[in-house]
Amino acid sequence: MKKTLLSLALASMFSTTAYAGVDDLIFTEMVQASTQNVDNAIALGSVEITNTHATESFTFTDDTALYILGSGRHENKLSTANGAPLLTGLTIAPGKSLVVLNTGATDEYKDTITANGGDFVIGEGSARYTNFFINGDDGVYLKHNGSVIDRIGTVGNSSYWAVDTTLRRRLDSEGNIPVQAATFDASQWEVTSPLDTSTVGKANYAEAFTPFVCENLTTIGEIQGPGSVSPLVGQSVAVEGVVSAVVSLPASGFYIRDLVPDGNPLTSDGIFVKSGSANTNMVGQTVCLGSVVAESYDQTQLDAEVWEVTDTSYTPTLATDIEVLESDGGLFATTLERYEGMLVNLPQDINPLEDGDQNMRVSRSFSFNYDSYRNNITLAYKRPNLQPNQKFIAGSPESAAAAAQNDDYRLVVESATKAANGVIPYYPDFLNSPHTDYIRIDDSVVGMEGVISYSYGDYALTVTNELKSHNFIKNIPRTDSPDLDETTAADRFAIRIAAQNLFNYFNSPFGGAQNQFGQSRGADTHHEFIQQKTKLVAAIRALDADVVGLMEMENNGFGLTSAIADLVNEVNVYYNDEWANNHDKPYSTENRYVFVGFDHNGNQILDELDALGSDAIATGIIYRPSKLSIERTRVVTMPQQKAPTIVNDNNEVIKDGKDEILESGQNYHRDALVTTFLVNQTGKRLTLAVNHFKSKGSTCWEDWQGVEFGDAVKWTSSAPDLDKQGSCAEFRVSGAVQLAEEMEKIDGDKIILGDLNSYAKEDAILVLTENPRNKTLTTASHTFIGTKPQFNLDGSPVNINKTYGYVDILSKVFEQKGKTAWSYSYNDELGSLDHILISPSLEERVLDATDWHINAAESSLYDYNMEYKCDDDEDSETDNKCDDNNLVNKFYAPDHFRSSDHDPALVSLSYLPGETDAGRSMYLTKLNKLVKVPYSIPEAAGALAGDVATIKITPQNDDDRLDLGQLVEPNVVLTKDGTTLVNFEVFGAPSAEYSAKVELLRDGEVVPGSGLTFDLEIANRDTLVAEIKQEEKDNSGGSMGFISLLSLLGLSALRRRNRK
């Protein structure tokens, strides 16, 4: 027999005789990190099991298994990767500990455990809920033959009772090693928070529990002190106070206040007692407890699991109004610090030192907060937080100061218990009547009461009273139509232009044309699709614009079943009255839209193959042929980034936390749709470029430059973003340059609109508008227009010294009104990603411009989606949608609110009939063979009532062989002195180019100075079916007539360069 086999046999003989009993196993330590920091929860979440037997080791069998008590409710048996019970086969030596860890536990932590003499096992799991993951609201237990033998955490306690906490088992009252306990007794565990991992792996015990004696009391005012840090930190104190609130958020515990306040406004009279043992019956009772004073992430707090109730009767606590003092030095955080731990009220006016009312405003509507990982609301002092780059140049000290002020003014509003989807526990009407009792961004919140806490750099208020709609005062109320002034001077008319984001309008899964570029991003079900369409249609109709630029339209071409055709058809259904006398009614067919088709593949047919670029979404344009006619369409190809893939020092491709390529170097904008319209009844061109620049979300090559990856193959940190422009700021500069350069080739008035994914003072906008501080604006590297390098052949970036002079009309008009434009809400900051940039030539035409806050101001609960909205626990486990047989989504309404996540932007422009661009004739469209020919009577003519205006039109080209048999050239008798505009209703003029001669007759004689001659083009309106508009020659290609032989003489010098 070989020696090894012999030794194994011997070992097994000894081991069979030397087993410790299962009774010797106990939990001795548990670490739960914060729910706010998932990385930490993964890295540090752990539980320690100790074999207390003095001499014998213990090996697990299938009889003894470890479970997690998920959120106090769910019993999850842990397993290995192949599905076996996690601990089976593992052995714990006598007096040693085994630590169970998450798969993401750090090497450093593992080293700590090993150094402490412990072993560890990774709870990999084989399926959902069989891996080891605890994050503050969980417990663990051991089961032997079906019976619980030891446990941490109370069954049914779903609160975050152990956030950022280390629990160490105490020695028993006699100072001996404790024994198993199937029920959890908090007094037998020492609580350390913030968590401490120094003894994990070591079979150590905390001191035995000593019952507390309520004597030698310290007041809360003394503990809080006047500064932000307690003067008594680290000391044991005995405190007596009235319980003002019991909460489970942001952390589990209760708040107590001094029986008699100290009267010092600089010290708080309340304090948070962290506890997993509190219940709401305690509110109003007077308790006495002992604790060590701790600072938990800069919040002064106590810990207690047991206390003495010194008065069981109810003592009310009146909420204290928050008030700004001069001593706060202008820092709102200093104001809140004075109230930390106290029950407070948000009053109508927080700051008596300033004129008017300063109160708390909703800065983020009720939604999932990715910082705290739960549904809540964020308020800001005085005003909603504006993204720092909305008013100040990105990277400037002013922008940094604005960011700091946002941090200072922030107050997160928590419910006392975790809010279910769609439920605000302290505002039940929100769910009961969501369409009347809604909360919008910029609402003033008045009369909200709660306790103030501080954690992770933010103050929070956990609400204790029940609110009604009057507690949310609407500063920007809901409206059913945008507030846009279109009052024009006499004789003039307005053209309304809007930009609308469609929130990924995808019809390909529901019968629409195939999307060639990937999966559907929009509605998941037909039910959702109908809801999405209904909302968008309502919004577009309410915009009532003459032309609308659309973003996030499915990129499935311009055929009959394209997304844009589907949408515009539905919008048009409402406009059904054809009677001419109702032409100005909202339901008149005059308001019908048609989409602008782009024959992108040049096959002379608009179909599904005309998809643009290579993204699943594209932009689109719809317009009213009654107001505008297309002169020219084109697509501006936007730059692509084709940069190297981001690799580590070993030239390995780095992946992110989702195992996707961190940055491939390949990035795209959506191609810009550019349409030159003629404003009907004028000869004015209006060019609209509809854009959707690369987003701020996923990164570009530039964002990782300077990051030291070392040999890491996985990178979970975000890219640095010092100037808060988000990802791809340089790439958006490249896009802005390309767009502006192409637009420079187009004559006439121009508008760049759409989602430029840049706040108003970010680099791309500075390029398009102006760069008053000469900020260095740098493009992305390795950008191409098609296959052509955009700048340098070697891909190096360039600094853009030229700006293009467009006017950010939204910012300008809002500023004139003393307000700020915004169209998008991200986290708790507002800003404009959706812009209307006009050429300076248009500025004098602007009547008004606005954002219509129907989307960004609203909670996402009102959108078309069915996820996370059921009013009960009916959300399906698999897709988070309301169960199919219970499609209760109280938040959906067939209206325009939250039709998208971006607010629409609008501008109105004023035009005078008959005005033209230089060299362009009037463009007059017919309706029922009638065309109105405008005649602006010269002032010198001194028009008088009774004068007769006459018109004579003559075809310009005899070759047209026009049938003028029906032509009626009316005389118009003036009814008023000083008439400035006459519209001749000419009948029966076929579509063609004409010369018109108009004049005034008075007593049969021509009034001197009244005569005018001008060119006009009479045409049919664009049809309501999208057509390919063929352009007319642009006269840049020479002439086909005889040229003089003499021109040869002029040849000697090389000629003018024909170059835009």
């Binding site: 080739k745 098609g786 020659k1033 290609g1037 020479g1038 086909m1040 007539g1041 040229i1043 090389l1054």
Partner: protein, 350 residues
């Protein structure tokens, strides 16, 4: 429509004393005549190079056939002149299909004022066409001057005195060799010919198609010189500078947004008469088309490879061998950024 390359070749051969030939069908004492003439040529381009194929070949493959035949009748009666010429040629240029086609290349009537001056009306080559490669001795073409070539509806006046020669032509509604409209074209030249030195300077102007085709206005300046440096060695220099407007986009059938492209080319060539029947010809060449310039605003990235660059430069060395009257065997090799590696051709004239 005759391809310009072959026009150049044909003209070169016509000027070449040893190559000229014709069959006199009638010859009168008063100078009236009728002559039948023509040629048959077989050969082509070897190892064409896709990297530098700008406008040369319909396909870049090992051998691109360039075989060619022409036959014509010309005559004079009482100072009235005429000419009818048929070509059978391959459409082997970029955008062509490589197949043969038969075309009427020239069809004009004219009048000879005297020994030195004449006019032509009809389908004929424009004035400068005849001299656009004056300083280029290569048998295959080197750098091509993009003048109008043959045109219909043309009036041409030419004069040739002892030393001075000049000509001018006007073509109504000119066309590109592809048939695309170019508008009216005027071109002309003036030259000086002497024993040691001769040269031609030409100009061309076209009116543009006004949106009908991609061709807009154009101005071209070209010149060629020949210097006999030794009895057997002649140097030539040929160059052009062109500003040509081309459409940069199209809407339906309408061409739009014409922009000016500047093109430059130059050839320095040398011809050495090794013997009565053998010539050795060398050239160095430079060509620069704005549409090739990848950094230029109008680089045509749909047509050209990404790495084409701004210009191409190459050199050639070749020989013409005349084994008998009316027969020429030609071979040429190229190095550098040339669209082909070699050219070989055999041709007989009658």
């Amino acid at each position: 429509m005759l391809r310009k390359t072959t026009v150049a070749i044909a003209l070169a051969s016509l000027f070449c004393a040893t190559g000229a030939s014709a069959v006199a069908l009638q010859q009168s004492d008063n100078g009236d005549y009728i002559r039948l003439y023509g040629e048959v040529g077989v050969g082509g381009h070897f190892a064409t190079n896709p990297d530098y194929n700008h406008d040369e070949f319909y396909d870049t493959k090992g051998f691109v056939d360039d075989s060619f035949a022409t036959m014509g009748v010309k005559g004079e009666r009482s100072n009235f002149i005429y000419r009818l010429e048929l070509d059978y040629q391959r459409r082997n240029w970029l955008g062509g299909d490589g197949e043969f086609e038969l075309a009427i290349d020239k069809m004009y009537l004219g009048y000879r004022f005297d020994e030195y001056q004449w006019v032509q009306f009809g389908l004929t080559d424009t004035a400068f066409d005849r001299y656009d490669h004056y300083g280029d001795f290569t048998f295959n073409k080197a750098v091509e001057t993009g003048e109008a070539g043959d045109q219909e509806n043309t009036i041409k006046y030419e004069a040739k005195f002892n030393n001075v020669f000049y000509g001018v032509s006007y073509s109504y509604d000119g066309k590109h060799k592809s048939g695309a409209a170019q508008g009216d074209i005027v071109n002309g030249y003036v030259g000086w010919k002497a024993d040691m030195f001769s040269g031609v300077f030409g100009l061309e102007s076209r009116a543009g198609s006004d949106g009908i085709s991609k061709y807009g206005e154009q101005k071209l300046m070209g010149f060629g010189v020949r210097v006999e440096v030794m009895p057997k060695l002649t140097l030539g220099f040929n160059a052009f500078l062109e500003d040509e407007d081309l459409a940069t986009r199209k809407s339906g059938d309408v061409y739009l947004a014409y922009e000016t492209f500047r093109n430059v080319g130059a050839t320095l060539s040398a011809k050495y008469d090794y013997s009565q029947s053998t010539q050795v010809i060398a050239s160095i060449n430079h060509e620069e088309y704005e549409s090739w310039d990848i950094e230029g605003p109008n680089f045509d990235y749909t047509q050209l490879p990404y790495a084409f660059g701004k210009e191409r430069r190459w050199a050639s060395l070749g020989a013409n061998y005349y084994p008998a009257k009316g027969i020429v065997l030609s071979i040429e090799g190229r190095v550098g950024e040339a669209p082909e590696a070699a050219y070989a051709y055999a041709r007989m004239y009658f």
